[in-house]
């Protein structure tokens, strides 16, 4: 169950996308998101699909992994789909019962929304599949560095994020271990009603929280021992560098965005 969480899980491969400058990857993903939500016309979805398809092929990520990333949000998809389906009025009415209405626009909105969310998750998952969390936060720090002028603690924020990301897998592993240990003592984590299950989690949560605090303390101590004192004058082991492939990818994405904007403007 815990292993199904894929968000933020790096999938190491040797591909063009993996070698891209993470800063560009972030910017491109943001453009992709803008494009998805700007477009009111089905072509926006086609453009979005095209983007995801090209990125997937170039990154050599098995499409199965993308489907896996969508799986956890299926309940959200179903709810969004149903809400849009029955409550979004307008157009020809096909079927009506009390307050529920099935309309042409409703169906359209529902399909649109579900596909849009799927693409959104697939696109952002591609970013995290192809970029290790550490590089990702480096890139975010670099992108936000102009804000340092406004006295924003960019480095500290990035460091906090790096640490948080770094410890997600560790804590997942730890949770797994504690769950196994308590199961070995006969803890029943899988059956019973909501209250019973919540109660059954106590033997897992308490050791987990205690261990998170212990780790935090140890980490702080270890960082101090190595004279960590913030971002001032720190250099990097891996310096982010952009190249031709980044420019091409950015140009391709901007082109798609432009196409979506133009079609939007022409149709509406």
């Amino acid at each position: 169950m815990l292993k199904d969480i894929t968000l933020g899980q790096f999938f190491p491969m040797d591909s063009v996308v993996h070698r891209m400058d993470a800063r560009y990857k972030i910017v491109i993903t943001l453009i992709f998101l803008v494009m998805l939500f700007w477009g009111q016309h089905p072509t926006a979805l086609i453009a979005g699909f095209l983007f995801v398809a090209v990125a997937t092929v170039c990154s050599k990520i098995p499409p199965k992994m993308l489907i896996k990333s969508i799986r956890p949000i299926v309940p959200i998809l179903i709810i969004t789909g149903l809400l849009n389906l029955f409550f979004f009025g307008g157009g020809t009415v096909y079927w009506e019962w009390k307050f529920l209405k099935l309309t042409q626009q409703g169906i359209q909105a529902s399909v649109f929304m579900v596909v849009r969310i799927c693409l959104l998750i697939a696109g952002t998952s591609l970013l995290t599949y192809t970029t290790s969390p550490i590089v990702l936060t480096d890139a975010i720090e670099s992108l936000l560095s102009p804000l340092k002028k406004l006295k924003l603690p960019v480095h500290e924020l990035a460091m906090m994020m790096t640490i948080a990301l770094r410890f997600i897998p560790t804590l997942i592993e730890e949770t797994d271990k504690i769950m196994s240990a308590q199961k070995a003592r006969g803890a029943d984590l899988e059956s019973g009603g909501l209250m019973q299950r919540a109660k059954a989690l106590v033997p897992v949560l308490i050791p987990l929280i205690v261990s998170a605090f212990r780790r935090a303390e140890e980490l702080a101590l270890a960082m101090e021992c190595r004279c960590y004192h913030g971002g001032e004058g720190r250099t990097r082991l891996r310096v982010l560098k952009s190249g031709l492939r980044d420019y091409i990818a950015l140009a391709f994405t901007l082109l798609l965005l432009a196409a979506v904007i133009v079609i939007n403007a022409v149709v509406y």
Partner: protein, 288 residues
């Protein structure tokens, strides 16, 4: 009939991803009732995975685990009952303590078994004594105990279920020599008193040699040998190739033999070694 049996057991992690790894590779194994088994192998040799399959926490990729001759993954089998019979103490078990008092934490397992108050009380007090935790410690919070005490409290938590087979995954990891000896002698005592089967996972030959009646050596997800310690240590060269060092004292005796001194081959406790050397010296001339 063996109490625990593994037949053609295989476990593969993360099938279908780049992280795919076979941790246990077609292992056959029979553990007889009442044995004290030591399980030795390098980090990543599959010890922990194998142990977790033995009590039904991990479902084997293929193969079967039998407890008292019954497949524990049979459709009707009650895996929770299996876990009460095959008690598993994880690595660093002190990190699983959660109750307000040590007493309540040790009682967690027995309580899950649905025992009555009186029986739970008996078991908690008995096991606490077995691991050397005093009455007053039982009423303290587990977080107030020292590292070694926490470890022993956690082990008591599994012992209190009075399992048929007790498996301990590196119960002495990270303890000082004194704490190590304490836990190991208490385990031997427990084994003698209850007569139940104990399986002790370790990567230290030194620890295991003194206590166990049988040794299982794992390397690269496979069983290298399963035999009495003396027979296993007789194959010192093969073990050294796998990067598993023999106990210091055994190596000394092998060295002595290599230099032509007639000493027994299978010496793996300091006490026995000293006796041998003394009798050799008293014997006078001999080969010295």
């Amino acid at each position: 009939m063996p109490v625990l049996e593994a037949i053609d057991l295989t476990y593969t992690y993360s099938i279908g991803t780049p992280f795919e790894k076979t941790a246990v590779d077609h292992i056959d194994l029979q553990i007889e009732q009442g044995e004290f088994v030591g399980i030795i192998g390098h980090t990543g040799s599959g010890k922990s995975t194998l142990m977790q399959m033995m009590n039904g926490l991990l479902q084997p990729t293929s193969g079967t685990v039998k407890l008292d001759g019954k497949d524990i993954w049979e459709k009707k089998a009650d895996r929770r009952a299996v876990r009460f019979q095959v008690g598993l103490v994880f690595q660093y078990p002190e990190y699983q303590l959660f109750e307000e008092t040590v007493y309540k934490d040790i009682a967690f397992g027995p309580k899950n078994m649905g025992l009555d108050e009186k029986e739970i009380d008996r078991r908690v007090r008995e096991t606490a004594e077995a691991v050397g935790l005093s009455e007053e410690l039982l009423q303290k919070s587990p977080y107030e105990l020292s590292g070694g005490q926490k470890r022993r409290a956690a082990i008591a938590g599994v012992m209190a279920m009075e399992p048929k087979v007790l498996i301990l995954d590196e119960p002495t990891a990270g303890l000082d020599p004194k704490g190590r000896t304490k836990i190991l002698t208490q385990l031997r005592e427990y084994h003698r008193r209850t007569g139940c089967t104990v399986m002790l996972v370790s990567h230290s030959m030194e620890d295991v040699a003194k206590y166990v009646s049988r040794l299982l050596v794992l390397s690269h997800a496979k069983v290298v040998c399963y035999d009495t310690p003396s027979n296993v240590f007789a194959r010192g060269d093969a073990l050294a190739e796998m990067g598993l060092a023999l106990p210091q004292i055994t190596r000394i005796f092998h060295g002595l033999r290599a230099r032509g001194i007639v000493v027994p081959d299978e010496v793996y406790t300091v006490k026995y070694g000293a006796e041998q050397l003394l009798s050799l010296l008293k014997g006078g001339e001999g080969t010295c």
